[in-house]
């Protein structure tokens, strides 16, 4: 499916979401509180979409809120979308995708490690890159570590 067709199709499926054409691929954004797992379920199981390959999962700190960014690809149709999910900055919680896409098990551990986002239902949510006793979440914009300078 081309990007325009995808946008039309997605608008049919998710009338509540805001869908725009990004730089490369359609971007579909959800506000916090939307049912995330069922959304993913539809995207993955729909026969015309078949987004079975999560190739990038990350998070952006917008100072007022977090945005989880998922890049999805379909190995059958080779179309991509960007899925965004807005998170509250005080209690950042989202459903884990580790049982839908196995790759997100490690990616979510990394995001938890660097952003402090809690993934509900993750089988092994603990720090992956930093030591267990690390204080703070380095990729947050308000993180400041005077000892380990990473500003150049």
């Amino acid at each position: 499916m081309g990007n325009e067709e995808l946008i039309v199709k997605l608008q049919e499926l998710f009338p509540a979401a805001s869908i725009i054409q990004g730089n490369d691929w359609p971007e579909i954004s959800f506000e916090s509180g939307a049912d995330f797992l069922s959304t993913i379920d539809v995207l993955k199981s729909d026969q015309t979409l078949a987004f079975d390959y999560l190739f990038c999962e990350t998070c952006v700190d917008w100072k007022t809120h977090f945005t989880m960014v998922y890049h999805l690809d379909s190995t059958r149709f080779r179309h991509n979308i960007v899925l965004k999910y807005k998170l509250d900055r005080e209690t950042p919680e989202i459903d884990s995708l580790s049982f839908v896409y196995r790759t997100s098990e490690q990616h979510e551990r990394e995001i938890f490690d660097l952003f402090g986002i809690i993934f509900k239902g993750h089988p092994n949510l603990k720090r992956i890159l930093l030591t267990e006793d690390w204080v703070g979440y380095p990729l947050r914009k308000d993180y400041d570590d005077p000892i380990n300078m990473i500003k150049l």
């Binding site: 990004g22 730089n23 190739f55 700190d61 790759t103 490690q106 990616h107 930093l130 990729l139």
Partner: protein, 371 residues
């Protein structure tokens, strides 16, 4: 940090493989649970070489941040730089000269060859055959010499700038690459004779570390690992970038899904790389090697994503710009990180010797995983 390691009552033994271990090729730490010689559980413990490149990039300008990525996957540093340069060019909407594109692809393929040759030697060494390492380095040295002459460095080339290349190719470049092609074509059969056809080698590789196509997709594996399972994922073919739509090459797919299939994919990819170089080396267009860009680069507000096929798989660069001179957020989706996540699934029920063989076919580069 680590739990106390002890033998449980059911006779299981927990062993630390790494962070200093000959088979991990760097500072990877695997916590494996053994039942006799059989692995029942594996848990990677990462971060020994975590340098927080993503955070560093947030305070580096668009011209500077490219070079920190050479230190991620140091064996395909040119492709990392390529991805970053392309994302900046995408944001600036610069047309880069044809000559620069072709040279970028040429150097990329040479880098891929060098990387695969290092992998071939190192993997044979993991399996206990020490000689192939020297045979592969014989050809790899020629490539690094070519790199040194043209790019000024042998490993972390940093040859790319946003808008083109740092400098034009060395006058000897074309001749030396042609000499290399002749040399390599006469030696690639030696690789097959020494290792591929060896009965011990085949027994060690076949039916070991099976990864089904569904699992390969679900675990997000890319590159030769996924292609060994028959999943088409070559970014050069599926989403052509740079000069890749001008050359003819095949995407290598093997359906075995075991270590041997992954091995064959890489061996055949070397031949494809040579064919790409052969097509381009005589057709380097004349012209500038760099487009005119401003001294201080500013990307428009927005989000950009660029996928590139490195020697290990798909490298994704996700860049969020707020309109300033530095990226607001940058994420590197490194191939090694995802490929590693499939390791636990693949080694279950195999012996320690197989763990080493499977890790060899995953071709892990630890700085790429930890970033």
């Amino acid at each position: 940090m680590f739990e106390e390691i002890k033998t449980s009552n059911d006779g299981e033994l927990v062993i630390n493989v790494g962070p200093q271990h000959p088979a991990t090729h760097g500072v990877l730490h695997l916590l494996i649970t053994l039942n006799g010689e059989t692995i029942t559980k594996l848990e990677p413990n990462l971060g020994y070489i975590h340098r927080s490149i993503e955070k560093m990039c947030e305070s580096l300008s668009y011209r500077q941040f490219i070079y920190s990525t050479s230190r991620m996957d140091y064996l395909s540093s040119h492709m990392n730089n390529h991805a970053c340069a392309m994302i900046v060019e995408k944001g600036l909407q610069v047309e880069i000269p044809e000559r620069a594109e072709v040279i970028r692809v040429l150097i990329s393929e040479l880098t891929r060859l060098a990387s695969h040759q290092l992998w071939w030697g190192a993997m044979a060494m993991d399996l206990g055959a020490l000689s192939p390492f020297f045979y592969s380095f014989r050809e790899r040295e020629v490539i690094t010499d070519i790199m040194e002459e043209t790019c000024g460095a042998r490993l972390t080339m940093n040859y790319i700038v946003p808008g083109g290349l740092m400098a034009d190719i060395h006058p000897n470049f074309v001749k030396r690459v042609k000499d290399f092609i002749i040399q390599f074509n006469s030696k690639i059969d030696e690789y097959d004779q020494l290792v591929t056809g060896n009965i011990i080698f085949q027994n060690r590789m076949k039916n070991v570390g099976y990864l089904s196509p569904e699992d390969a997709i679900s675990y997000g594996t890319t590159g030769p690992v996924a292609r060994g399972s028959g999943v088409s994922c070559d970014i050069r073919k599926l989403y052509p970038y740079s000069a890749y739509n001008k050359v003819k090459f095949e995407e290598i797919l093997e359906t075995g899904g075991d270590s041997f299939a992954r091995y064959l994919v890489r061996i055949k990819e070397m031949k494809q790389s040579i064919s790409i170089i052969e097509q381009l080396i005589d057709n380097i267009p004349e012209g500038d090697f760099q487009a005119k860009t401003k001294a201080v680069l500013k990307l428009p507000k927005g989000e950009f994503y660029q996928r590139v096929e490195t020697a290990r798989g798909e490298l994704g660069v996700y860049l969020v710009s707020e309109g300033g001179t530095t990226p607001y957020r940058i994420k590197f989706r490194s191939p090694g990180f995802s490929n590693l996540s499939a390791l636990n699934h693949m080694v279950k029920g195999h012996k320690i010797g197989d763990l080493v063989a499977i890790m060899g076919t995953l071709d892990l580069v630890i700085p790429d995983i930890d970033r």
